[in-house]
Every structure is written in C-alpha cells, then in structure tokens.
Amino acid sequence: MKSKGCFKKREAMMKQAIDNIVEQNREELIQFTQELIRIKSMTTYERELAQMVEKKMKELGYDEVIVDPMGNVIGRIGDGEIKILYDSHMDTVEVNDADEWISDPFGGEIIDGKMYGRGTVDMKSSIAATVFAGHAIKSMGYDKGKTIYVSASVMEEDYDGEALEYILTEGGYKPDYVVICEPSSLNVALGHRGRALLKVDVDGVAAHGSAPEKGDNAVYKMNIIIDRIEKKAQQMIQMSGEKGSLALTRIESKAVSLNAIPDHCSIYLDRRLIVGEDYRYISNEMANLLEGTQASWQVYDVEGTSYTGKPVVLHSFLPAWEIEEDHSLTVAAQSAYRGIFDEDPVLFKWDFCTNGVASMGKCHVPTIGFGPGDPKLAHKRDEHCLISDLLGAYQFYTVLPSCL
C-alpha cells in the first residue's frame, strides 16, 4: 500500500528535511502560539483572534484565505484532487480564577518546556501548528496532488460541531478527510460518543395552594417519568461493553405564584450516544419513557450569534462517530506517526465531544483526531502544553498529507 511505504522510501531524506523545517520555524511557531494565547477569544468573541490567524496565513503564503460569513477562517494550500481539512476551534472557555494560576492565563509564559495559558491545550497550540504546517507542506512540496484546508473555526465550546457543519455544508467545502486537532497528547483518536440534550415538558392545571384538589400538579406528573428515567439509566449502567448513558441534569417548575399548584414542570436529560443510537433510536426510547403520560420531549436547542452577527443554533443532537482501525486515514496517520517518532501511536477514543460530530457524525467524512496537549488539562486552572507536543503536532500535520 502506498501509505504504508510513504515514509520508508525517502525516510532519511524526509527526516532531515522535516528537522530542518522545524529548526527554521521553531521560534516563530512558538512565538505565534504565544501571541494567540495573549488574545482573549471566548466563545462568540473570536474576532481579534480570527484577524490574527488570517494575517498569519497570508504572511505564510497560503494560496487562499477566506473568512466565511460565520467568522471561520479557512486557508488553502494547493489545489490537488485529494482534499484534507485540519480543524481547530478558536474559542476558549473563560477564566474565573486568574489569581490562582501559577502564570498569567493570557500570558503564554514558558516554564520548564511548558507553555501556560487558557487555550494552550484547547486549542490554540493546534491552530498554530496547523497554520505553520500548511506553510511547511507548501515549502516541502507535499501539496502535490493535494488540497490542504486549515480551518480555525468559531463557537465550538457551546455549539459543538455547528461551525464545522456549516463549513462542510453551506460553505461548500468537500474534503475527503478531516483531522480534528483537539488535544490528544499526540495519540490518535478514532472517535467519541455523541451527546443529545433533551428537554421533557409536562403541563398541569394551576390552582390555589389551599385547594390542591382543584388543580393538577405538574411536578407529580413529572415524578412518574423521573422514576422511569432512573430505572432506564440504571439499566444502561449495568450493561457491558461500549454503551451510552442517561443523566437527569436539571429540573424546574413554574407556577403563577408561590402559593399555587405548579402548572408546568421541565426536566433536562444529558444522553450520551454510541454509534447506532441515532435520532430514530432515541425517539423510540423517549416514546417508551413517556408512554401514557401527557408529557412531550424535544431536542434542546441553544441559540446564539457568532461574532459576525450570524445566528447560530445548536440543535443538540450530536451523533457518535468512530473510524475503523484499518481505514486508509487511520493507516496513514499511523504511518506518519511512525516516520516522525519511530514508534506506533496509541489509538484511543476521546471521552468528550468535538467538531467530529459534524465531519463524521453528520457529514460522514472520514475523520481522525490528533492534537498537542493533554486533554485532561482543558478548561482547568494552569492549563499548559508541552513545547515538544506543539512541535510534534507541527511535524505530524506536515507529513500526514504525503501519506494519503
């Protein structure tokens, strides 16, 4: 197979070339990552960061750089037949405990070979590594017969997958392969469970609290459903093998006054999905849970607006995805990894959601995950990324296209 041999043939030469590229660009790459860290880019506030990414892509000689109507930055290298898209999201979660960090969360300080700051792991190191990889691919001629798209997308933290789905549908990009560059400690991620946020509503009849018999208490009606959900959740826990899960996360009631019978009750369910648990499957499951009650359910939509003013709705049904171990993309990733690190990569699955729900879950584009940084440090105090991870990912992204 071509991909297996891609490195062996020119092994020594390529290794030397890659080492040279890393050596030449190392300082600039690290510096750019630090610059990205120093710009705050909470979800829907990515404008300044996007401008910086756009500028850097242009400086590095990208063939085309576009900021789409949602605010995603997409750079292109080459115009070959085989199309590969690297995706990193630009937004980060907030910092509420800046005083307790060992280093300024928006400083990008390097201590003992680790860069500290919000987004070092999730996922500005990935943006920097992919942006520079595009340049390296071009300068090494790896773009021959390939088209490389580097996307820096918006609003992942609260709207998982929506931005990438937009790029792949309305944006008109049709890659053959997608690499989700979320942190993986340089292991190769082959998928993750999906997630559905569901809301269940039931109405009652209001009445004054002194005469409960005149009303129909919505909390009592919901209680029957809660009991069924608990049993169902327990059943799922008892199952063996790969499995979904069901968590009741919120409950609320509404009443006309404090002394009135509630006429509405809502609960929210966090349903983790495995491959095969699609919308139809969940519809059946919910129909069973609500059978004989007057309750209704829906997928919970989260509405927002991107920094460009474009309305974005997260329809919270995010399907699970997985890619086979012998898929050509997986094999190419293993080959690229071996060529750089002289060993086999660890294959695993993420335990969180990524934009992969859009690329593979919804749009069925073969997808793998690979990124710098330990995913356990995401969203945490003292978030940091090893400089060696940043450089390793840079090399991996540079080499991967040549293995496909």
Partner: protein, 395 residues
C-alpha cells in the same frame, strides 16, 4: 345606623383616596400618612405610627382594650390587560367602588375610621379603649405586624376584630398554613458518566410520591375541614450545565387544620420512609423582608390555625350587635384565606372575630370591587360593638 348612612360620602371618598395610593407590601408609607390625616380629622384621641410602620389610632381611655385591624397593604395588580379600568384610579357608581384594595381590604380601614367618628358623634364611648390599627406586610407575611405590636408595643387587647372581607357575615376561624422546604443531597459528576455520581433528583422522586399520598390521609375537622399539602415548587443545584444535580429541593404549601401544629407537620414529613432513606432535610422557610421603615423582624413562615368558640363573649357580642342593627340572624362561618389572626390568636391566643365589608372572592382579582352599603353597615357595627361588649360581656 342612620349616622353611618350620613357618612357614606366621606367613607367612599376616603376609600377612593386610599385606592389611589399604590401600597404593595413593604411600600405602604404614603397610604399610612393618608390614614393618619383622616384619623386626626375625624377626632381620634391619639394617632401613632410604630417603628415597623403600622398606624394605631385610639378612641377613649377605658379599662377594656379592644382592637380592630385592617391590613393596608395590597397585592399588585397582576396582568393589567385583565382590568377594564385603571386599578388605582378606580371608579364608583351609586352602589360600588372599584379598584385594587377595595375589598382586600382598605374598605375595612375606611369603615373603622368612620366608626371612630360615629362613636364620638353619638357619645358611644364607655369603659373601653378602642385601638384601630392599619397594619403592614400582611400580603407578604400574614400576622407579622401583630407579632411586633404584641411583643414590642406590649398591646394585649381583650379581643381583636379582623375586618377582612366577610360579605358582612361573622367569621370565627380559618385554616393555618406553613411553607416547608425539603432538600436532598447527592454527589455531582459529569453528565457523561452518571454512574460516578448520586443524583439528588432521583432521591427526591419517592419523597414526592409519599407527600402526595400523605395529603390524602390528613386529619379532618368538623368546622375547618381537612388540611392539605402540595408540592408548590421544585428546584436543583449543580456545578455546571451538564452535570448530575447534587442538591434538589421542593417547597411544600401545607394548609393546617385544627390540631395540626408546625411540629406535627414537620414530624409527619420527617417520618416518611423515603425522607429517612434519603436523609433529607425538612425545615420551615423564614421571612425577613424589611418593612417600609427599614425594620427587619424575622419570623418562621408558619401561620397557625385559629378557631374562636361560638359561645365566646367576642363572638356573642358580635352576633348581638348584628341582630340589634340589622334585625336578622347573621351567618357565622369561616374564611378560606388567611388573615392577621394567625398570629394574634394562632400564636398569642388573643381572641379574634371576623366581620368586614367586601367579598372574599374579590381579593387579588382583577376589577376588584366593594359595596357602599356594606362599608356603611360595617362602620355601624364597629361603632356599636365596643359599648355593647363592655356593658354586657366584659368582666
């Protein structure tokens, strides 16, 4: 009665003035000042406003202390679209007065002040001191004002007439109530791995079932009927949007009949098997909202049941006054809602008897109204009652 009829115009005007001044709970200062002006005008012997903001007007200097109470706060107007006219501007014709507070219960205040005037005009004074109170925050926390008056102002009347609307019937009790909170605690975890946590909402579910069942099995009372309990609210807390809830609470609206105390009602819930299994916390809510003067007088949200025996002198005197004035037999019954008597009689054992202009079903309703002839008749009753009581029933 004739004298009262003469004051129909003044009573109506005074009531309309009060209606025109919005006076929701904790914002009653302006209406209190208007009442003070009217009390002084008609010749009360003394008019005071206490530190909580309650107004107390006195007629006479006799031995037997009798009080008559109207709360002068109102509820809000609710959905303004349901009103056919401005709730504060109000309106009137020959028979009725409309506006927020007409029945509940600035009407009672208007009748009492003019009862004071009638007593003075007709020389109905005797060996009694009549205290006419306009009290605050009743809609928010019934009876709190009288906890203050009894505890802090050391006022101990022989009985208190509650002038909340009774359609001119005589009411001698109502059910009490309390607000209870039940809380379960669990262990939070990420929504993707519910098996690592212990969901507080699941722990609450069997408690709700048992509370529903307990409601069906509460004790009965021949006069007041059964108590009741219902879950009025459910809420939770958890560290993030996609985490298992580590705390869940319900509020219970508990109506108490004769013989049910707060200890009894709390113990009843604590004894539920599901509450024991979940080790749930069962407690009373409390109230600590400052009055318009800024005074904070914290109390438990417990409003005890009260019933005055039919043969009690206060009830007998009321019945006899009624028969004397209106030449018919009164209906002696009970309120459905709650009044300041929850503290006066429920907590302190001071006898209460209810008689008031306006109708209970007008309370809190849009297009609230009251009836002018009831205002006049109530004024006559309030003027006649104290002298009849001291002459015939007081010891």
């Amino acid at each position: 009665m004739e004298k009262a009829e003469e004051y129909k115009l003044e009573i109506s005007q005074f009531l309309r003035d009060m209606i025109a001044i919005p006076s929701e709970s904790c914002d009653e200062e302006k209406v209190v000042l208007r009442i003070k002006e009217e009390m002084e005008k008609v010749g009360f012997d003394k008019v005071e406003i206490d530190p909580m903001g309650n107004i107390l007007g006195t007629i006479g200097h006799g031995k037997h202390v009798i009080a008559m109470d109207a709360h002068i706060d109102t509820v809000g107007v609710g959905d303004i679209k349901l009103w056919d006219f401005d709730p504060y501007e109000g309106m009137e014709d020959n028979e009725i007065i409309l506006g927020r507070g007409g029945s509940d219960q600035e009407g009672g205040m208007a009748s009492m002040v003019y009862a004071g005037k009638i007593i003075k005009d007709l020389g109905l004074e005797g060996d009694y001191t009549l205290i006419v109170t306009g009290t605050v925050q009743e809609e928010d926390c019934d009876g709190l004002c009288w906890q203050y008056i009894i505890n802090e102002s050391k006022l101990k009347p022989e009985f208190v007439v509650i002038t909340e609307p009774t359609s001119l019937n005589i009411y001698r009790g109502h059910r009490g109530r309390m607000e209870i909170k039940v809380t379960t605690n669990g262990i939070s975890c990420h929504g993707s791995a519910p098996e690592r946590g212990d969901n507080a909402i699941y722990k609450m579910a069997p408690i709700i079932n048992e509370i529903k069942a307990l409601h069906e099995n509460l004790i009965d009372d021949p006069f007041l009927g059964k108590g009741s309990m219902t879950v009025s609210e459910i809420f939770f807390s958890s560290p993030s949007r996609c985490a298992v809830a580590d705390e869940c609470s319900i509020s219970i609206d508990r109506r108490l009949t004769n013989g049910e105390t707060w200890e009894y009602a709390l113990q009843q819930i604590r004894n539920l098997p599901s509450v024991k299994t979940a080790d749930a916390k069962v407690e009373m809510y409390s109230y600590a909202r400052p009055s318009y003067t800024g005074l904070v007088y914290p109390t438990e949200s417990y409003f005890p049941t009260w019933v005055l025996e039919e043969d009690h002198p206060a009830c007998q005197a009321m019945v006899e006054s009624y028969e004397g004035l209106f030449e018919s037999k009164p209906l002696v019954d009970k309120w459905t809602f709650s009044t300041n008597a929850v503290s006066i009689m429920g907590r302190f054992g001071i006898p209460c008897i209810g008689f008031g202009p306006g109708h209970e079903d007008q309370a809190h309703a849009p297009n609230e109204k009251t009836w002018k002839d009831e205002l006049v008749k109530a004024a006559a009753m309030y003027a006649a009652l104290p002298l009849l009581y001291v002459n015939k029933y007081a010891k």
